[in-house]
Structures are given as structure tokens and as C-alpha cells.
Symmetry: C2
Subunit: 243 residues, 2 copies
Amino acid sequence: MTYCVGMVLDRGLVFMSDTRTNAGLDNISTFKKMHHWEEPGERSITLMTAGNLATTQAVVSLLDERTKAPDDREPSLMAAPSMFQAARIVADTLQKVIQKHSRSGQEASNAFNATIIMGGQIKGGPTRLFLIYPEGNFIEAGDDTPFFQIGEMKYGRPILVRAYEPTMSFDEAMRLLLVSFDSTLKANLTVGAPFDFHVYEADTFKIGHTGRIEFDDPYFQAISVGWGDALKTALLSLPKYDL
Amino acid sequence: MTYCVGMVLDRGLVFMSDTRTNAGLDNISTFKKMHHWEEPGERSITLMTAGNLATTQAVVSLLDERTKAPDDREPSLMAAPSMFQAARIVADTLQKVIQKHSRSGQEASNAFNATIIMGGQIKGGPTRLFLIYPEGNFIEAGDDTPFFQIGEMKYGRPILVRAYEPTMSFDEAMRLLLVSFDSTLKANLTVGAPFDFHVYEADTFKIGHTGRIEFDDPYFQAISVGWGDALKTALLSLPKYDL
């Protein structure tokens, strides 16, 4: 499985992804699921993937190859005039990769599926965040739905729904995301640390603060331990039920 | 869908179930999913069901009919010498009902499935809580896993994992359960109020405090509104992330 979240804030975008992949429960590996394309001062695009690893790696490699020799290849992410066009390129690539393998005589209809969160900014437009489906269509985040989750989204969703604010600082968003990831980690073995993150500040048009948070990172451990106590205190602050 | 939780506390058992059933998203109804059998001073058994409504109603009706004329029918819940034997009776009944319909030529292999939480106490034994699978086997709650959830369990699980304590009072357990149910309600349309509950006090051998909490119940509304603020305060109490 996988857990990735992309979030739109007033001051930019925040991305976080786990790194665990599994083929069954007895075969787990660590792969980076977050990828960046950048032309400083002009565009910054971030992509996070969930689903079949062969599919997502093929999509990322295809997108990557095109950016390196844009002249004699299909439209590339580095040449897309807008984030919407960039999303179309990713979506078309994803759809083609899935179709290629689905038509190879394989039976498992969903086995090659993948879902992608893509966000960033291209000069002349605002920051935008998309959720791209394996069918090659996609939706965009808006004021009512300002974040997307892919993979094992349920355990970590309640805290996002309750505590997200568009006016959050990046530090606050990182804290919120780590709590959401910690709740997921505690419940599903197929989501695992380390976590990759990217904090993109609006109108900078370059990759912002990126990094990787290991399971034994002191801050993450403080969040993980502290959150249990904080939740208990929160419960106690609610009015008592009277049987 | 459904959401039910059964919980073992030092002082007894707490059960809570939602009441929404659905056949698709455009066809929802309200059904009670919690059922009781009692012989005051001798036994109290509570059952909560998730899954195919025809299956679960058939199971409950079969169990119920047997208790009314125990002499000329199969072993009944009212005659079982222990909670373990009572669980076997429920499990066998569940398995038979599912098999009957699965063998009718229907294709959908899981369509008739159901899962049951059963708990209570029979004189001479301790309080016990079981999770019964559609295959007719079951597991029992223990110190390490002191509660069971069935149905849409993911959204409401993190708070249970973090805040459950075996030494909780019944009032505290009700508050915890309502927060867990509220988180689930907010995320999944196929879980809905009102919620039925049963608080069984150990060694009383009778149905304890039961009731139904409506969506517009003032206490539930206070929990629902207050929990968002309490969570935000809890987040703020954690150390800040420093990018």
C-alpha cells in the first residue's frame, strides 16, 4: 500500500509520501514515491504515486525521458504551458502505461492500476493540485476540498478533516501531516517510514524545502508519543457522558 | 455499511452500533443491529451484526426462535452452558445461513457475508467478547486486543487505539465511542445515526443500561462540535516542526 497527501495552503503546497511498497505482506521494500521536475524561476512540479510500482515507475521514467530530449519526443512536463496541460500529459502517460499491460492478456483488471497526486506552479498561473485517476481523467483541489490523499487514506483522514486550515503555516502543516501519517502507520503495516516531503512556497517557481523523515527521527518520535497523550487530554476536555 | 464496536473494560462490556443499512447509495434504511438475550440473574448476551441484512436478520431470527421453544429445537443461546458455547451456536448459525444462499446458484461470493460481535456473561464464567467470521470461526478479545470493530472500522480506529484504557469508567467509554462514531459518520455516508448502545456491568447477569442516541441529541452534538476544537488544541500542544 501507500499513503501520500498533497495539500493546498494559502502560502503554497505541501506534499508528503511514505516509502513502503509491498508484494504481499512478506515482501516489502522501500521506494521513493515523490518526484520533482523543476526549471528554477519558471516551474516546479511534484508528483506522488500510489499503486502498481511497475506502472508508476514506468510513468515517471517516461515523463523523465521526455524532459531530457524534449525536441524529438511527445509533449514534456518541462514544456507544458500550464499546470492543467502538465496534468493532461501525466494522465495520458498513466493511461497508456496501464492499457499496454492490461492488453497483454493478463486477467487481473486492477492489478496495473495507479493513482497520482500532482501539484506545482508554472509561471503565469497559480499553484494547482490534481488527483489523477488510472483511467486518465483527473480532478483539481478547490476551496472545499483543499487536499488529496491516495493509498491507505482512511486512518489518517479524520485529523486532516478536523484540523486543516488554509491559513496554516508550513510548520503547522508538517506537524498535522506527521500526525496523520503516524495514525496510518500505527494501523496499517503496508504504510511505512521514512516519509519524503516537499514544501513549495507559492510564486518561488523552484523546488522548496525537501527532506526525508526517518522513523527514529526525534521530532517524529516526539509527535508519535505526544499525540496519544494529547488525544487523551482532548477527550477529557469534552463534556462527560452521564449514563 | 455499518459501524459497531464492542469493548471489554475492567468493569464490564460496552457495545455501540449504528443503524444505517444501504443497498447502493441511493437506497438507505434504518435497522437496529444490536440484539439482546437475557435471563436475569443468570445470563446476558448481546450481539451486533454487520454485512448482508438478509443474512443477519435470518441469523437473529433463528437464534431467537430457538430460545422460545428450546425443548424441541437445536441448542439455544438460553441453554448454552458458557459464552464459548454460545459463540459456537451463533457461529454455526451464521455459517449455515450463508451457505444456504451461497449454494443457491448465486455468483457473488461475498454478497451474503456477515460478521458478528457477540459478548456477555453467563453465570459461572467471566465477561467475554467474540468476533465471529462468516466462515463460522471466531476469535476472542484479550488484554492485547480489548475491543472489536466491524464494518467501516478505519476512520474511528485511531482514537480507540490511542485513548482506550481498560480502567475507564462507563461514562468515559461512552464518550470515547461517540467520538469514534462521529469521526466515522463524518467520512462515510453509509454509517449513520441513531446509535444504539448497551453498557453491561460485570457480574450483574442482566441487560444493563441501553438506549439510542439520535443525531440531534444535544450531548452528541456537543461532542461532534467540541471534538474539532479539542483536536486543534491537541495539535497545538505538540512541539512545533521547524523546517
